[in-house]
Amino acid sequence: MDLLNALFSSAPWGPVRIGLHLTFGIVLLYWLWLAYQLRQAVHLRHLKRPRAWLLPAAGLVVLAFIAILAYQATWQLGGTARPRFVAFMQSHDRRQFNPAHWIQRGRILDRHGRVLAESRNRDGAAERVYPYGPVFAHAVGYADPRFGLSGIEATANLALNGSMLDSLDDWGELGRQVLTQSKRPRGQDRVTTFDASLQRFAVDALSAAPGGGSGAVLLLRPADGAVLVMASVPSFDPNRLQADLFNARDPATPLLNRATQGQYPPGSTFKVVMAAQALERGFSGRLDCPANGYTTSRHYPPIRDHEYYSAQDAGGSWAGHGPLDLATALAKSSNVFFAQLGVLGGHSALAAIGERLLFNRSIAFAGGASKALSFQTGRLPSIPKRDRYGLAQASIGQGRVTATPAHLALIAAAIANDGLAMRPRLLRDAEPQALAQLMSSETARRLRVMLRRAVRDGTGRGIDTDGLEIAGKTGTAENPHGASHSWFVGFAPASSPSLAFAVLVEHGGYGSAVAAPLARDLLVKAAEQGLL
């Protein structure tokens, strides 16, 4: 016994044990082979011939066993393909040798190869590190054993864990890891479409913006839907997740991805939608826009233009626009014109353009089979037939109509891309995919001209920059929570757009004063990188 004890605690016991383990399996195999070989010798001649049902019955038993073994393999060998299982093991399995503790998740990179998320080893376990901290908290998300997965960490989880088997090499790598029981399973890197420097610039600019420093920016390429910036402020640090973050009802809602989920009144940016509707209907002509505004009934206060209020504040008076055509009205952002235009078109035309421009939906980003990463489009509730004032209000982007920054960016991108909206994508390797034709290419062409004019001579003229040829629409959305939200939505350069964007600054005030300059600075920065 002492000899055995000495052997068990000696150094060579390790290899000897592995040898024993191997022999154990081989002798088992030999036993099965022997049982098969001896089937003649143990044949029972004094019994009857087997009844006919023997073969099907035996087949059924074997099939049942095979089914169970196959299912077992999906856990025992392919467990990394089950994100919740991996998370469970990482937080609740005390077996030190469980490979789940050691999975080297693939890195998440931006389009220039800058690291947005990577796994490092600390204290005997893999730890996820986000070098950009709060900047990409919503877009890249987090992977935490306690709090689960979000963002790209969730949608690309399979690949990051090394269980996305879409090529022969991937199968080979999984096979190698299973065969060798690799203690360091390595996932695949994923390259995103994001531009880390632009994203950081957007987040910094939003944080510094007036009105409390919260808002969202979405910047994408109209031609293929690649999202370069998806910023939402305030944010949180995915390197330091705490339970309070998820439990506390923080009024600043740092978890909310404002770019994809934030519903805001669109204000004047909605006039782009109305202009598209008018062009699709074949509207041409002028509408009179007097200074004392427009209303559907004398019981409701008239809808007036902002020039009226500016003049009133200055103690003067204003004569009104007089008759306006669509292009001028859009450039001047005339509430009176668009309120009339909406009522002229009627309830069904508004509902139709809402449907055409994909309101009331949730749209998944391209490339992820998972629904974990998607964005909401605006809400356009149906307005009762008798409520004509509600229709007038909705036509200027107030009342019950809302929009998300991602949705308005998508509409701007569609205008830039001859009416065809490409499905937004976050991963470089996701195939560009057409989403829907939002409007005819002729409508899109005329809107491009009009929106360029809105920046050149209209409400956005303060940000017109030589060489950038910015086109877009400002918005100043009144809301019951405080100062107006500041919007700027558009694309550049107008003649052949390569970038489309939506900028929202919560309670920032005038769109032309806050959101538009922010967008301009971002575009200047993008132009420096040769993106324009």
């Binding site: 077992q72 025992q76 040798f97």
Partner: protein
């Protein structure tokens, strides 16, 4: 090879049963290899290896050796594959249970040690008592089996204690295990006695007028089992009943009616029993409550994942993470330590056993023997599949043990007694004088001195067998 039909001397039987011996010895070898690995991990648990630590393996080897010896001495000519397969499965059980520390941490636990010899003694007794067709005596005691089944359930209902949602008798004995044998015997006997009537269906209706006593007993048993919330056992026995009815009468209609009834009853039961609903919910989404209801199955699966393809072997300190791992979840311990490959081989051994049992059923000489064998086979097979399915999450958990591997005295004795009965049936029928008279073509081997006697079926087989050493 010696005379295959009727060995007349112990010497002949010794030669005849060589395949059984070879397989048994290989199984012992496997047990020894595993045992060495096990002992090698003991120092990591903080115990030095003592001489007494070998006791479980020695008892195991001696017990199976003794069974083989008893068969040789008694000139038993029944099946030779069932015993070694059982031994190999028991070896897995031994390894897993020693691993879980069930035989005592420092000193051997004598109660645990005698369990296997007792169960094997039951196997030998039943096999030898029932051979040469004597098992058919059980057929006459049909109503005794029914009474015994109901008595067990009744007594248990009055005296039983509730633990972990099931009812146990004093000392954690689970007498309901015995039902797996007594009810099979009752059902086989009853069907055999009314075989003609039960096989004759009028158009699409089963002969209910003959069937009702069977249905009555089964209804009572099911009701009593449900009062104890033993849904798993109801399922196992129900499948066995249907299989026996179909195999015995050759009427697939029983299966169709039975499955329809089972589907309806199953749906009703699930909606009635919150217990069953919970298990169903955990099965569908164990992650809904990972640290509560889903904990056990997820810990088992985590262990398997950690074990991977090859397993860690019995190398590290003992796994203690899955609750009650020694009974229901023993398969996850084996799959963790021996890897996917090990569990594949284990399941292959199970498949060998079941295919062999099915073969014995398919070749039984009497309808009663057929039904008993197929009944026992389906009980064991369904139990195995339910356990494996539950542990791997392929099926909802039913709280059923893995035959021959899980820890459990009542279960072990019942399973081994059942296998003894199957062995007895595989021994064939006694020689009938008339049959002997017609088989005039005597050969040298067919000595009339054979005490146990044995009827051989065809002259041709006897002619082939006639080259034996007795010549």
């Amino acid at each position: 090879m010696a005379a295959k039909g009727t060995p007349t001397t112990a010497e002949e039987t010794w030669a005849l049963r060589r395949p059984e011996r070879r397989l048994l010895l290989s199984a012992l070898m496997i047990a020894l290899l595993g045992y060495l690995m096990l002992l090698g991990a003991r120092p990591k648990d903080g115990f030095a290896v003592q001489l007494a630590d070998w006791a479980p393996l020695l008892v195991f080897a001696a017990a199976f050796g003794a069974v083989h010896g008893a068969f040789v001495i008694a000139r038993f000519r029944g099946d030779q594959l069932v015993l070694p397969t059982t031994a190999l499965l028991s070896a897995f059980g031994l390894l897993a249970q020693v691993r879980m520390g069930l035989f005592g941490e420092t000193e051997p636990d004598w109660m645990e040690l005698v369990l296997l010899p007792v169960a094997l003694a039951a196997l030998v007794l039943v096999a030898l008592a029932g051979r040469a067709g004597r098992y058919a005596m059980a057929r006459r005691a049909t109503w005794f089996w029914a009474g015994l089944s109901l008595l067990i359930l009744g007594v248990l209902l009055v005296t039983g204690q509730r633990f972990r949602g099931a009812v146990y008798a004093v000392g954690f004995i689970t007498p309901t295990e015995l039902l797996k044998l007594t009810l099979v015997l009752f059902t086989a006997g009853f069907i055999d006695q009314h075989l003609k009537a039960l096989s004759r269906w009028r158009s699409l209706l089963p002969p209910l007028r003959r069937l009702w006593p069977l249905l009555l007993v089964w209804g009572l048993v099911t009701a009593l089992l449900l009062m104890q919330r033993d849904l798993g056992l109801v399922l196992i026995l129900g499948v066995a009943l249907l299989v026996m009815l179909v195999a015995g009468t050759g009427q697939p209609g029983y299966a169709i009616y039975g499955l329809a009834l089972a589907a309806g009853a199953g749906a009703a039961l699930i909606s009635l029993f919150s217990h069953g609903q919970r298990r169903l919910a955990v099965w569908l989404d164990p992650f809904a409550d990972p640290t509560g209801a889903g904990w056990q199955v997820l810990q088992g699966l985590s262990g398997m994942f950690a074990g991977g393809l090859w397993g860690e072997g019995f190398s590290e300190a003992r796994p203690r993470y899955a609750p009650i791992a020694e009974s229901d979840f023993i398969y996850s311990v084996l799959a963790e330590e021996l890897g996917y490959v090990g569990s594949l081989l284990l399941i292959a051994v199970f498949a060998v056993l079941f295919i062999r049992l099915l073969t014995l059923a398919a070749r039984a000489r009497t309808p009663f023997g057929l039904m008993v064998t197929i009944g026992i086979t389906s009980v064991l097979a369904v139990q195995t599949l339910l356990n494996l399915g539950g542990v791997t999450k392929a099926l909802p958990l039913t709280g059923i043990t893995l035959p021959m591997i899980s820890h459990g005295g009542s279960s072990l004795v019942t399973v081994f007694a059942s296998l003894g009965l199957v062995l007895a049936i595989s021994d064939g029928e006694p020689v009938k004088p008339r049959a002997k008279a017609t088989a005039v073509k005597k050969t040298k081997t067919s000595s009339s001195k054979a005490p146990a006697g044995g009827k051989r079926r065809a002259p041709s087989s006897r002619a082939k067998a006639g080259t034996g050493r007795k010549a």
